[in-house]
């Protein structure tokens, strides 16, 4: 009977712990942190990834400004950065983070690491989408006297838009997948919450709830971008 009581009280304690340790507002904070970190990294990474992707595309054979050397060099840089595991890259570029963000840990530094890791990935996604644009359409624009800049802005990107939007959903999900690493450098978010409570404090409920929230976030973004891509694609006649 005594043992039963102890058992019961320990269960009660455990259950109480779950609610005491992580409140709804904790989840909300973590959700917002993850969302913020992912969105900001994605946006900044796109700012650099788009020009890099366009350059990779434009310098490739038979494109607007073919240049085998530049294409090769850029390709190698992108591949190198893409093949370094994130956690190692993070350690490697800490000095740069110190220089640019002022810190090597915390959310801001983490955004920096994520951005650096995402740029080459985004560049490749963009390059692939641009390659889908019909060569003939570019030739037509050239025959109208459009220069490269106008072709990029008015032909390539608008024509590749549906593919670029679908790519953005993949990019978002991929970056989101790296956010739990924030835990390692004292950052916040759902992933950090899951690791902290689920892994180190043996509280699987927190882990499950955090994970479900992450899944919901990915789903929402996937659906939103997919919807936008379909909705705005004029090749689909309605």
């Amino acid at each position: 009977m005594n043992t039963a009581l102890i058992l019961m009280s320990s269960w009660a304690e455990k259950i109480a712990n779950i609610f005491k340790s992580v409140t709804v507002s904790d989840y909300a904070d973590a959700f917002l942190a993850t969302m913020g970190i992912t969105l900001i990294s994605t946006v900044i990474a796109y700012l650099f990834g788009i020009p890099l992707g366009v350059l990779l595309y434009g310098t490739s054979e038979e494109k607007m400004f073919p240049n085998r050397l530049i294409n090769k060099i850029l390709g190698i840089i992108v591949n190198v950065f893409r093949s370094i595991p994130f956690i190692i890259l993070l350690v490697m570029i800490q000095p740069v983070a110190k220089l640019i963000v002022g810190k090597t840990i915390g959310n801001a530094a983490f955004v920096f690491y994520l951005t650096v890791a995402a740029i080459p990935f985004i560049a490749r996604m963009i390059e692939t989408s641009l390659h889908e644009v019909d060569k003939g359409i570019i030739e037509a624009a050239q025959s109208m006297g459009a220069g490269n800049f106008k072709i990029i802005c008015k032909v390539l990107i608008p024509e590749a838009k549906p593919s670029l939007l679908l790519g953005a959903a993949i990019v978002f999900a991929t970056i989101l997948g790296y956010t739990p690493m924030a835990y390692l450098i004292a950052g916040d978010g759902l992933g950090a919450l899951a690791i902290q409570y689920g892994l180190y404090r043996f509280n699987p409920t927190v882990m499950y709830i955090s994970s479900i929230l992450l899944i919901i976030l990915v789903q929402i973004m996937q659906e939103a971008f997919g919807f936008l891509a379909r909705k705005t694609d004029r090749r689909i006649s309605k």
Binding site: D134, I137, S143, P158, K161, R234, R235
Partner: protein, 337 residues
């Protein structure tokens, strides 16, 4: 203003593919007159597209020059070249419309590039879509239009910057015969009413016959024949021209091998085809076999050619020849296909 709008001098184009050279154009000399419809015909791979792309410098010639409205395109600065290109619009086999823009926005596109104010561009685009007969499809997207409609949009788009030349690279090759005829009619109207010089690239003789004034036959990167359409059509000098005029030449050449003699009859517009053959059969008391025929109405006159196989009876052959001479129909013995 001279009579000449485009002059091509000693033009060569060589492509470097991997480690071997591909000669796409070899010593091309050509003069295209202002206001004419000039045809360039040849089989696939002859170099037609390369030639037309050299005309507007989408492809830089390896050697030689292209002179457009007295400007040597090879000597222009990048900016000036882009500007010159606006005077040389181009349409394509695959239309190459922007898939994410509707008809109106597609027609506005070249004007956007040229910096025409938006409202003005829209007004002109509407007018042009009217001209090509698409006033009811302004807001349709390419995916919602037929091939013929898409080519009409492409033509309206090409006209938007007031070009003096319209280059057409296989513009009707993806269209059915009916639609082809309509598009050719439209091109003819544009040529006559707007005075735009048209250069038509095709592998189909019927396109040349129906609207071109002059034609260049290109084969294996050379120009092998050049002249008035009627002359080339009636007296093809090159093997390739004969082949293009008789698209079923293969069948004919098989029959020639049987050892029988054949004649090529030329109808130059003074006599019609059918009565001649039926009368010939009656009057000469001889059966002839029509091996190949390509008879058309060019500029309202019945012209064409027919290859007939002669009977083995020598007397009958003589009667046939006498009959043909009597009727004033030109003929020649065919020894090769």
């Amino acid at each position: 203003m001279t009579n000449e709008i485009i002059r091509i001098e000693n033009l060569n184009k060589t492509f470097l593919a991997k480690d071997k050279k591909i000669v796409a154009l070899n010593n091309i000399n050509l003069s295209i007159r202002r206001g004419e419809i000039f045809g360039i015909i040849g089989l696939s791979g002859a170099g037609k597209s390369t030639l037309v792309r050299c005309i507007n410098y989408l492809e830089e010639p390896t050697e030689g020059s292209v002179i457009f409205e007295e400007k040597n395109l090879g000597k222009l600065k990048k900016k000036e070249l882009l500007k010159a290109r606006r005077s040389m619009a181009m349409i394509f086999q695959n239309f190459n419309l922007l898939s994410q823009r509707n008809a109106l926005q597609n027609v506005c596109f070249p004007m956007e590039i040229a910096g025409v104010p938006k409202a003005e561009a829209k007004k002109r685009a509407e007018e042009l879509l009217n001209v090509v007969g698409l006033s009811d499809r302004m807001t349709s997207y390419p995916s919602q239009m037929s091939g013929g409609q898409k080519q009409r949009v492409a033509i309206a788009r090409a006209l938007s910057t007031n070009p003096s030349v319209l280059l057409c690279d296989e513009a009707t090759s993806a269209l059915d015969p009916n639609t082809t005829a309509q598009i050719l009619e439209l091109l003819k109207k544009i040529n006559q009413e707007l005075g735009i010089t048209i250069v038509i690239i095709t592998h189909e003789m019927k396109v040349i016959e129906s609207i071109c004034n002059r034609v260049a036959v290109i084969d294996d990167s050379h120009i092998v024949e050049l002249g008035e359409v009627k002359d080339v059509f009636l007296h093809p000098k090159s093997k390739i021209a004969r082949q293009l005029i008789f698209p079923h030449g293969d069948a004919a050449s098989q029959k020639f091998e049987s050892g029988k003699r054949s004649l090529r009859l030329v109808f130059d517009g003074t006599t019609a085809f059918e009565p001649v053959i039926s009368q010939l059969t009656l009057e000469c008391r001889a059966m002839v076999n029509i091996v190949a025929a390509n008879t058309k109405t060019v500029h309202g006159k019945p012209v064409g050619q027919m290859v007939i196989q002669l009977p083995s009876d020598r007397d009958a052959v003589n009667r046939i020849m006498v009959y043909l001479i009597d009727k004033g129909i030109k003929f020649e013995e065919v020894t090769e296909a």
